[in-house]
Amino acid sequence: MNVRIEQVEKEREELVLIRCHAVTDEVREIASFIKSRAGTLSGTSDAKQYEIPVTDVCYIESVDGKTFLYTRNRVYETAYRIYELEELLKPKHFLRIAKPMLVNLMKIKSIQPAFNGRFTATLSSGEKIIISRNYVKALKAALKGE
């Protein structure tokens, strides 16, 4: 597949066009990556496909090999792996807080101590999630902008 980048004037809309012989998984993956860079993630809920704004996602969890996006009042399944999302969403203030979980730092309302040096994060949705002690150091560094 050839890749061509064309610069356009500010007045014209930016567009990524994929010209392909067939819409394969690879093509879908590329499209999904571009959408995520633009600020949305593809996800399914009740067998329907949605484009979810990254800013609406409170946290992301991997359960039994499947990845789920949690917004204030809905859960979406996504084709991404948690490690892919970790890299992809780093600039969008997402951080790994447990082995199977990423959190949107902008959605944390408060942090409380839990047992054994762990912490509980209360999200703006009201949900409480555990911050594993192995990731507390990374959380501190992220909040300091390191």
Partner: protein, 145 residues
Amino acid sequence: MEFKRFLVNKLILFFMLSTLITVAIVLIGSAFDPEAQFGYKDMPVPIEYAALCMLPTFVTWSKRELSPKVLLVRKAIMLVLIEGVILFIAFMSDVIDTSRIGVVLAIAGSVLVIFVLANLFVWLKDAAEAKKLNRELEAFQKLHG
């Protein structure tokens, strides 16, 4: 939790317990047997007790992240096991007069107090850390919001 980190935490707990057990022995001894004399062979007793108390703490070890509820249950099991270990030592000992119910209750009570204090110290440390994290989180959200 990494096993190495778990062991480091247990080492911190071990030193904390050694100190608290020494204090408990002083308090219980002063109340029930103020005339007792000790030699060099008795000096490692708090360390030995602390080491034995460490064994039941391994019930809180898990490779997977435990939910607060499960951890609370495991901590309760740990307390029961520690009480069992200490009371077993007391009943096996020749120098501790376990025929006096007051002595047995004082030992069991001091184990409970030490357990609560050790957990309280850890909680207070975590609460101070959480307060700092909340301040940093607020600043982060203001900056990027």
